[in-house]
């Protein structure tokens, strides 16, 4: 299994990461070695089973709705790094 630098740049873009040249060189080598080793899972005979996630007997238990006091505006305001005149500053996202 090989992953080229171009592949890694594409994957990094999807993963919201930026890689410098040094990181790319190291990752290319490490990723190829790791994937080559992990490709051993193809050797497993009888692997045509159900996909296993965790305990199969697990049943989702839903919580009952409960009302609670949400009068904590002042506490929430303390989480902002900056405020002025009752307005809160947050990072620009658009």
């Amino acid at each position: 299994m090989t992953l080229s630098k171009q592949d890694l740049i594409k994957i990094a873009e999807i993963a919201r990461l930026r890689l410098d040249q040094g990181e790319l060189e190291k990752l290319e080598k490490d990723a190829c070695e790791i994937l080559e080793y992990c490709a051993k899972i193809s050797e497993i005979e009888g692997g045509g089973n159900e996909a296993y996630f965790a305990r199969k007997s697990l049943k989702a238990k839903l919580r009952k709705d409960k009302t609670k006091d949400c009068d904590n505006a002042d506490e929430i305001k303390t989480e902002f790094c900056k405020s002025q005149g009752g307005f809160m500053a947050s990072p620009k996202s658009l």
């Binding site: 993963a15 890689l19 790791i34 994937l35 692997g47 996909a51 989702a60």
Partner: protein
């Protein structure tokens, strides 16, 4: 000894030695002193009254920093406490501080922390094991009576083995993970690290049981782990657990099995050929779950504040790239790769199916015995920096611990001996839900 004196003794040890060991990231001595004084005055009490504990810094304590040993969360203060923390505090345990780990629990030797370096109290040139390295070191160095770690592929048992203490990973679902920063949701469990099996069992009794905030948990409040006794169990010794194992480690573990046989345990040889695939199955699945779990650290809603770039994507990428370490980036990238639509069937789906096959291989072994015993780690603690440049070599050291997480079964490490002053751990694994039986077998092996 009063609770306050016990605490002061521990604080004294921390102040005297932790600059060399580097286990703590944050201490809370004053709060601890107030609580110990209150307990001495008759205020409160409980099953763990006055027991001093440390906490892996990926578990939330309201008002304390929860960094996950990452620059990404260096300044994050938890706004609520994990269920396990609330349960310990309610039973009178005294928190003395939070301890180091590999960044986001990604590592097997605690050298991947972005915040400090933890060293093995038994030999400062050697690694402490990971990822709960600070937890095991703090117990081994007498900085606390017990600690909590988290275990995704051996992160409680590996450092416990390397530090010569007891570590226990409960059955999947026995302990609530509410308040734990997740690494891989279908593998993670919180568990105790302590000086003895009895102490670990007492802590487990307090933290175990159903929690409406973690839907994987089940009710076991009737189970009295603190009353476990030595068990004359039928022990299976898988030959594959010794493949590639250090000869001196193998000798110590086999000698201990002989002692257990003389004590009245029946010992049978078993074979689990599938166990050699533990590392590839484990890592493909962990990469995928970890990449998903890490998406929330975008520098906007969570994590280090993003510098504004020309567009939103650039802001997020910059924050993540500057704040995350090499191993974390490697896992995110490989997790993204194995989960991509064009690669999913060849990697992720195949690994999920292999997990089912793997689990059935262990179920079959448990038809012949009550518990499986082998070394916790195949090798002795290595020198700091020795495996830093070769991630695959580091991953391979998880080969004996990852199976318990793949199967969701209980497993614990108990000290079995030493080689040139370096501790060797013996691992006991049991069927899912047989936590008490595993603790009983560990107690027999502890003698």
């Amino acid at each position: 000894m009063s609770h306050f004196k016990n605490l002061e003794k521990k604080i004294g040890e921390i102040e005297k030695h932790d600059d060399k060991i580097g286990s703590f990231l944050e201490t809370c001595f004053e709060d601890a002193r107030k609580k110990a004084k209150k307990l001495d005055a008759g205020g409160g009490g409980g099953k763990l009254a006055g027991k001093v504990f440390s906490l892996k810094n990926n578990i939330a304590v309201k008002g304390m920093k929860m960094t996950c040993a990452s620059k990404m969360l260096e300044n994050y203060t938890a706004s609520y406490s994990a269920t396990v923390v609330e349960r310990l505090l309610k039973e009178g345990a005294v928190l003395v501080g939070s301890v180091n780990l590999d960044e986001f629990a990604c590592g097997s030797d605690c050298t991947k922390s972005a915040l400090t370096q933890t060293r093995n109290p038994n030999d400062l040139e050697r690694v402490v094991g990971g990822s709960s390295g600070g937890s095991a070191a703090s117990v081994s160095a007498n900085f606390c009576d017990f600690s909590l770690g988290s275990d995704t592929g051996g992160s409680i048992r590996c450092p416990s083995s390397f530090c010569g203490v007891v570590g226990f990973k409960p059955s999947y679902g026995l302990v609530s993970r509410f308040g734990l920063a997740d690494l891989a949701m279908s593998f993670d469990q919180i568990g105790p690290i302590a000086k003895s099996v009895d102490d670990a069992a007492k802590v487990l009794e307090v933290i175990a049981g159903e929690d409406e905030k973690d839907q994987t948990t089940f009710g076991t409040k009737t189970e009295k782990f603190s009353q476990v006794t030595e068990e004359k169990v039928k022990i299976g010794v898988p030959k594959e657990f010794f493949d590639g194992c250090d000869e001196q480690v193998e000798k110590i573990v086999r000698d201990k099995v002989s002692v257990l046989e003389k004590q009245g345990c029946q010992v049978v040889d078993v074979s689990i050929p599938i166990s050699k695939y533990a590392v590839p199955i484990y890592y493909v699945l962990v990469y995928s779950e970890f990449a998903s779990a890490m998406q929330k650290y975008d520098g906007l809603k969570y994590g280090a504040c993003a510098d504004l770039q020309a567009d939103l994507t650039s802001s997020v990428s910059k924050a993540r790239s500057e704040s995350l370490g090499d191993e974390v980036k490697r896992r995110i990238l490989l997790g993204t790769f194995v989960s991509m639509k064009e690669h999913k069937n060849a990697w992720l789906t195949k690994a999920l199916k292999a997990r089912d096959f793997f689990k059935r291989g262990f179920d079959k072994a448990f038809e012949q015995c009550d518990v499986l015993i082998g070394p916790t780690m195949p090798i002795l603690p290595w020198k700091v920096g020795e495996k830093s440049d070769n991630p695959l070599e580091m991953y391979l050291t998880d080969v004996l611990t990852a199976p318990a997480n793949i199967c969701g079964i209980p497993a614990g490490s108990v000290p079995a001996g030493k080689v040139s002053g370096l501790p060797v751990g013996l691992q006991v694994m049991g069927r899912w839900g047989d936590d008490a039986k595993v603790l009983g077998a560990m107690k027999s092996a502890e003698k």
